[in-house]
Amino acid sequence: MIGSTTANPLLAGLLEEQVAQPCTLVIFGGGGDLSKRKLLPAMYNQALEGALPANFALLGVASQPMDDAGYRAFAREGIEAYSRRPLDEQHWPDFEHLLHYESGSFEDPQTYVRIKQRLQQIEPEFGIPGNRVFYLAIPPALIETCVRNLNEAGLVYPAAPGNPFSRVIVEKPIGHDLQSAKQVNDVLGRNLDESQIYRIDHYLGKETVQNILVMRFGNSIFEPLWNHNHIDHVQITVAEAEGVGTRAGYYDHAGALRDMVQNHILQLLTLIAMEPPWAMRADVIRDHRQDVLNCLRPITPDKIDQHVVRAQYGPGYHEGFDVPGYRREDGVGPESITETYVALKVFIDNWRWAGVPFYIRTGKRMTKRASEIAVHFKSTPPILFNADPNHPLEQNVLALSIQPNEGLSLRIATKLPGPKVRIFPVKMDFRYGSTFGDQSPEAYERLMLDVMAGDATLFMRRDAVERSWMFIEDILDAWQSSGVRWLPEYTAGTWGPVEAERMIEADDHRWRLL
C-alpha cells in the first residue's frame, strides 16, 4: 500500500548501526547458483546475527518448478554447503519460515502478476509495509525484460516521499561494452529512479576495501604521503587459482579485462586514489570516486603494447594436480582468443597522482588466490643507509590484503641487533582474523543489509559504470582491430606471462610476491 511515512522515535540510537528496514526480498534467479552459494547463506547468517528486520520475508523466483517446501530444502542445502556459519537446527525453523517461492519464466508477464499476488499475501502476514528489494540474480540479457515487467506489473513503487521503498539490485557487469551498458542503464532509468538502483559489486563489500577509507582519511600520517611526491607506484593484484570452471559460457565472451578490471578492479583503484570526501555519504563518496575515473589517462592504440598485456593459461598445475589449458576447458572453443590474464599500466592524470604508475594484474589459474593493493613508496635518498648502490634499501610498502586474509601490512627498514649497523626489512602485519578473532561478514551479507538500510555508498552509480567501460573500450577496440589469432600463454599455477614481467621491468620495477 502507499501511505505516509511516519517517524519512529524508538529508532533513536539504533540507526547508527544501519538498521535494515522491514521489507520483502524478491530474488529473481532464486533457484540459481548465486542464490544457493551466496545470497541465501548471506541472509541466513544475518538472521543468526539478529540483523534481519523482525518484519522480513524472502520470495525466490525462478523457472525451476518448486513449491515453498522445495525452496526451503534448496536453501538448506546451500546453507549447509556454503554458509560461513554452520546451520543451527534450533534457529532453522525461524529462518525457513521466511522463505517462499514462485515458479515462472522471467519473460512471461503472468509471472509478475503471480509475484504481485504472492507479495500481497506475504506482506500483511509478516507485517511488512510494502517495502521491496528485488535482486536480479539473472543473466544480463534478461535484465531489460525483468525490469520492464516489474514496472508494468506495478511491483515497483515510484520513488517519492511517503511511498514504501522499492529497490532493485543488479549484478555487475552492466552490459558487455559501453554501448550495451548505456542500453541497460537506459532501461533501468526508464523504469526506475537512479536512487532505486543498486548495482552491486561484491568486492566493495569486503572489510579491507572499506578499511581503505578509514586508513586513508582517519590517520593523518598517511594523507600527506599519499601523492606523487612520496609514492613511487601502486600494484593491484587480483589473482584466482581456479580456472573458468562452469562459467565458460559467460567468461569466454567476457575475458579478464571485462570480468575483473571493468567489473571490480577499477573500483578498488578509485578508493586508493580518490580525494578526501567531506562526508561519509553515498553520493559524496561516489562523486569523489567518479573524479578518479574521469582522470584516467586513455590508453591509445599506439600505447597498447607498452601498457597492456593479455594472455591465456596453458596446461599446468593446481593444488598438485594437472589441469588443462584454457582452450581445452569445457565450453571453450579451440580458437578462442579470450584473455584469462591481463596486466595494465595506468595513469591518473590529476595533481595528486601525476606520473605515478598504477600496475594492475588479474587472471585465472594463477599461483594462488590472492587480492592485494600494494603502495610502494619512493626510496630514501642515496645517502646514509641507502648510500651503497649495490645494496639499495628496499622501498617501504604498505599492502592492503583483501583476500584470502584481510588485513594490512607495512614493510619498514630496521637495524639488526649487533655492533654493526646492518639494515634489514621487517614486515609489520595486521590480520583481521587473528587480531579480532572472528572473521568479518561475507561481502554479500554486508551489502544486502546496506540495501535494506538504504545505504548506497558501496554500490555503483550509472556514471561510474559507463566511465569504466569507456576506459577499457579503447583497449577492446585495439584488440579487436589487431587481428591477433593467438595469445601468449602462461603455465597454469604461475603468476602470469613473461610479457607482464617485461612490462613492469621496463620501469625498473618488479611484481610483488604475494
Binding site: 519512529n8 522515535p9 539478529g50 534457529h91
Partner: protein, 375 residues
C-alpha cells in the same frame, strides 16, 4: 564451506611477582615464548585498550578471568584485574602476571597481558595506584566495574579508578539493592558531564528487545500503537527488575511519557502510572520466579478505531525472541538473538567511543521512576 570453530586463546601460566617487577616480568613472558619459536617466527603484540576490572572477591575474580578470552580475542588489551577483598599470601597486595595469545603460522599474536592484583582488607585503597602505574600509554582505558555493589556505594575505591578511565562499564544485573543502586548510579552519571562513556551491560542486553519493539511497533507497521497505548505489562526473571525498569525508562524517554505515580510490592510486582497527552495508562513489571534473568514477555496494548489491540513479545528460549499476534492466525514471528556472555558484551562496548545519550536519558527517566516508588 563452513568455517572451523574459532581457536581458543592459549594461556601463559600465572606468575607471582613483585609490583616493581611487573614490566620486566611481562617482557619475560613473551621473550620466553619467543625463544621457543622458529627462526622465522615472531611475537606480534597489537594492543587496542587498557581494561581495568574491579571484582569483589576471589570467586568473582576467577569467574571474570575465565571470561577474558571473549574480551581480548576481538579486542586485544592490557588487562588489570583488581580484587577488592581476596586472599593474599602476605598482608597487603599480591600481584600476578600472565598472558593470553594465539598461535599463527608466522608466530604468536599476543591478545592480552594480564596483571592481577589482590588486596586484603587493609590494602584496597592501594589498588588504584598499582593500576595507574601499569596502563599502556596512548590507549583508551575502560573500567569494568564488575562488583555486585553499585559503584557509588564503594566510592573510595571507585572514584580513584574513574580518574584514569575513559569509559566505565557496569552491570545492574544481580545488584543487591537494585532500586537504590539505580538511583545512585543515575545521580553519579548525571554529575559526570561529558567526561566518560558509560554503559550498563543490562542496557546492552536490551538491544534486541529495543530492535524488536522499534520495528514491530513502527508507526508505519502498526499505526497508532505508540501513540495510543493503553497498557504495558513486562514480565521478568529474578534479579532483572533494574533491566526491566531500564526498558521502561527507554520507552518513556523517547515517547514522552511522564511518570505520575507508582507502587511496588517488593519482590513481586511494580506498577507505575504514566501520562501522555492527558491520558494515563499503567505500566506493570511482574517478577516470574522461573524465568531467566531478563525481560521475558512484553504485552503491549493500545486502542484504535477498531477497538482494543495487543501485541505480545516473548522470549522463546534458545536465543530467540518472538512476536505473538494476539487473536490472529498469523504464526509467531521469531528473530534470532545471538547469544552473548558478559565478556562479549564488554568487548563490544569497548569498541564504542561516544556517549550513548539514549541510554543516559533512559537512565534518568528510570531514576524518576525510582524516586516515585521511594516516596
Amino acid at each position: 564451506m563452513n568455517d572451523s570453530p574459532r581457536q581458543r586463546l592459549q594461556t601463559v601460566p600465572e606468575k607471582n611477582v613483585r609490583i616493581r617487577h611487573i614490566p620486566r616480568e611481562l617482557d619475560a613472558l613473551w621473550a620466553g615464548l619467543h625463544r621457543e619459536l622458529g627462526e622465522d617466527q615472531v611475537v606480534t603484540r597489537a594492543c587496542m585498550s587498557n581494561l581495568i576490572i574491579y571484582c569483589d572477591d576471589d570467586d568473582q575474580t576467577a569467574e571474570i578471568v575465565s571470561s577474558l578470552h571473549d574480551i581480548v580475542t576481538p579486542h586485544p588489551s592490557r588487562v588489570v584485574v583488581l580484587t577488592g577483598l581476596g586472599y593474599t599470601g602476605e598482608p597487603g597486595l599480591d600481584v600476578f602476571v600472565s598472558g593470553l595469545y594465539s598461535t599463527l603460522p608466522g608466530g604468536l599474536q599476543v591478545s592480552a597481558e594480564l596483571i592481577r592484583v589482590v588486596a586484603d582488607s587493609t590494602a584496597h585503597k592501594r589498588l588504584a595506584p598499582v593500576a595507574r602505574a601499569h596502563l599502556v600509554g596512548d590507549l583508551p582505558t575502560t573500567l569494568w566495574w564488575a562488583s555486585r555493589e553499585p559503584a557509588p556505594f564503594l566510592g573510595e575505591v571507585f572514584n580513584p579508578l574513574t580518574a584514569m578511565a575513559d569509559q566505565i562499564i557496569y552491570d545492574s544485573i544481580g545488584w543487591s539493592a537494585p532500586t537504590k543502586g539505580m538511583q545512585a548510579m543515575s545521580r553519579w552519571v548525571a554529575a559526570q558531564s561529558s567526561e566518560y562513556v558509560i554503559d550498563n551491560l543490562a542496557w546492552r542486553r536490551l538491544k534486541h528487545w529495543r530492535n524488536l519493539l522499534s520495528q514491530v511497533l513502527d508507526p508505519n507497521v502498526q499505526p497508532g500503537a505508540l501513540l495510543a497505548i493503553t497498557s504495558l505489562h513486562i514480565e521478568h526473571g529474578p534479579h532483572a527488575v533494574a533491566m526491566a525498569s531500564l526498558l521502561v525508562g527507554w520507552l518513556a524517554s523517547l515517547l514522552g511519557w511522564r511518570v505520575a505515580g507508582g507502587k511496588a510490592v517488593p519482590g513481586k510486582q511494580t506498577v507505575w502510572q504514566f501520562s501522555v497527552s492527558s491520558r494515563q495508562f499503567p505500566v506493570t513489571l511482574t517478577r516470574v520466579e522461573e524465568a531467566r534473568c531478563a525481560p521475558v514477555r512484553v504485552d503491549w496494548a493500545w486502542r484504535d478505531d477498531g477497538g482494543e489491540r495487543r501485541t505480545v513479545f516473548a522470549d522463546l528460549g534458545d536465543d530467540r525472541l518472538g512476536v505473538i499476534e494476539v487473536d490472529s492466525d498469523v504464526p509467531v514471528r521469531a528473530v534470532s538473538v545471538p547469544g552473548s556472555t558478559q565478556g562479549t558484551m564488554v568487548a563490544a562496548q569497548m569498541a564504542h567511543r561516544a556517549r550513548d545519550l539514549v541510554f543516559e536519558r533512559a537512565l534518568e527517566t528510570g531514576n524518576q521512576m525510582t524516586a516515585v516508588l521511594l516516596k
